[in-house]
């Protein structure tokens, strides 16, 4: 029942000591209840899901060109992965919270680093299981009480932020068929939600799709693995196996080998009063991380010469 509060000079974060998941962030004089959940949308596959939708829309699978969750009900609900254990690690530059989930292919390290104004979420995803024959699109959702009223701001070009309104298009009257997919946008640098009291910005380290399907939430699709082709031209599912194909070059009936790719990425979360300013402050640093070169030299080594 105890919480753990980890803080540096700029922010403090309250964690649930048993799950290791965030509960609240206090930063820049703003206190924000902030929780997080991992889950996935099951990819639409006409072999399984044809009966769930009108026949006129029964063939379009989720795949390389198209993101489409499987059934209308599931559209709004993630298949959740719950945390199964947490470890708090003190390091020389901050504190790390290592969280394992009941889905062993989702792992997370939350870092509060000395002198950094953000909460760093490092996720390691994969290999995504497909033995039940279904594709999965893995999503990380941040949940706050922010009264975003259906609005989210995404960058799409790494520079300007565009206001996105749920189930709305500025240049035509939209008929909503896909409540989730229709409200996903490209996020190449950052996304944020805000109201008059608080803002949450999330800076991404690679281009991802995402949006705000429910008020007060921001979600990001961090990895996808499908097992059906979306019939839009690639002629194969999104199913990188990390083992290559045999025989290679793979023309026609090449067989995939390997059990699936593992990816690792980072989200940097900032809490404050204004979302755009928060996002802007970290976009460059996240895009241009310092490059690291190493060399070794037998002891005793004396770095002589001028820098």
């Amino acid at each position: 029942g105890k919480d753990v509060v980890v803080s540096n000079e700029l922010l403090s974060v309250t964690f649930d000591s048993s799950t290791g998941m965030m509960k609240q962030v206090f930063s820049q004089n703003v206190s924000l209840l902030l929780t997080q959940e991992w889950g996935y949308y099951t990819s639409f596959d006409s072999d399984y899901d044809r009966t769930e939708v009108p026949s006129s829309r029964a063939d379009q699978n989720s795949g390389a060109y198209v993101f489409r969750p499987s059934t209308p009900e599931e559209k709004l609900k993630l298949m959740n992965a719950s945390p199964s254990g947490a470890k708090f690690v003190d390091t020389s530059v901050g504190t790390e919270v290592h969280v394992a989930f009941d889905a062993p292919w989702i792992r997370q390290v939350t870092r509060i680093l000395k002198g950094q104004p953000y909460v760093e979420i490092e996720y390691t995803i994969g290999p995504i299981p497909i033995d039940d024959g279904r594709g999965r699109e893995i999503v990380n959702r941040y949940i706050t009480p922010i009264k975003s009223e259906g609005k989210v701001y995404t960058d799409s070009n790494g520079r300007e932020f565009l206001e996105r309104r749920r189930n709305y298009r500025p240049s035509w009257s939209l008929e909503v068929y896909e409540q989730v997919a229709g409200n996903y946008y490209p996020i190449n640098a950052a996304a944020y939600i805000e109201d008059s009291d608080a803002a949450l910005s999330v800076v991404v380290d690679r281009s991802q799709g995402g949006g705000s399907i429910i008020d007060g939430t921001l979600e990001f699709m961090v990895q996808r693995r499908t097992v059906a082709d979306d019939f839009r031209g690639v002629d194969e599912p999104l199913n990188e196996t990390c083992g290559g194909m045999e025989p290679y070059p793979p023309y026609g009936d090449a067989k995939r080998v390997g059990d699936g790719v593992v990816i690792r990425g980072v989200h940097r979360l900032l809490v404050g009063a204004k979302g755009a300013g928060l996002a802007r402050s970290q976009m460059d640093a996240t895009f241009a991380e310092p490059l690291i070169f190493v060399a070794s030299s037998p002891k005793p080594s004396t770095p002589v010469g001028a820098l």
């Binding site: 803080s7 390389a64 070169f293 190493v294």
Partner: protein, 197 residues
């Protein structure tokens, strides 16, 4: 002519502007080909940049002879740093290049082989040591749960100059780390406990 090794990376990046590379709508073997071309270009470019850095950094000593770029830090893998920290016999040098046009400070995470205490020194102009501190290792988060346990040394670079470099020396020591060694001139993260309500 000197910078010819960068052309391969430029070429690969040019080819990867194709819409199916940018959007991921290529067949898998085509995607493999893009990554192959990009990695080939990266390998050549990183060797060139390492050589350039070495020539501008340390002019007259055999130091940094084997300066290399760590391509797999995101996977907690760096062969050279892990090899150099297998025993006490070697020093590890880390060159950190800030490509931004403004001063930044960053946290470096470097894979090492031995779960020991390390002395991190920032080497300044005329080879004087500006800052040094003892750091302990943390168990790295492996990409695959089946991997052998690895360790990471983490340290704060302090201010990195705009479009500039900083040089660090990391030496394994046989001191046993205790929290009293934690130097208090750097602010640490603090941990508090309080009731759930």
């Amino acid at each position: 002519m000197e910078s010819r090794p960068l052309f391969a990376l430029e070429d690969a990046l040019g080819i990867a502007q194709h819409h199916d590379a940018v959007s991921g709508t290529a067949k898998q073997h085509v995607a493999d080909d893009y990554s192959f071309k990009l990695q080939t270009g990266l390998d050549l470019a990183s060797k060139f940049v390492a050589k350039t850095l070495k020539n501008t950094l340390i002019s007259d000593s055999g130091l940094l002879e084997n300066l290399t770029f760590c391509h797999q830090l995101n996977e907690s893998i760096c062969d050279l740093s892990q090899d150099a920290t297998k025993s006490l016999g070697k020093d590890l040098y880390v060159v950190v290049y800030n490509a931004k046009a403004s001063e930044v400070s960053s946290i470096i995470r470097l894979p090492v082989s031995t779960n020991q205490t390390y002395l991190v020194e920032r080497v300044e102009r005329n080879a004087t040591v500006a800052r040094s501190r003892l750091v302990e290792t943390v168990q790295a988060v492996n990409l695959r749960t089946t991997d052998k346990p690895r360790y990471t040394v983490m340290f704060d670079t302090g201010p990195l100059p705009p479009i500039g470099v900083a040089l660090f020396r990391v030496s394994m020591t046989n001191k046993v780390f205790s929290s009293s060694l934690r130097s208090n001139d750097l602010t640490e993260t603090r941990r508090l406990f309080r009731a759930a309500d």
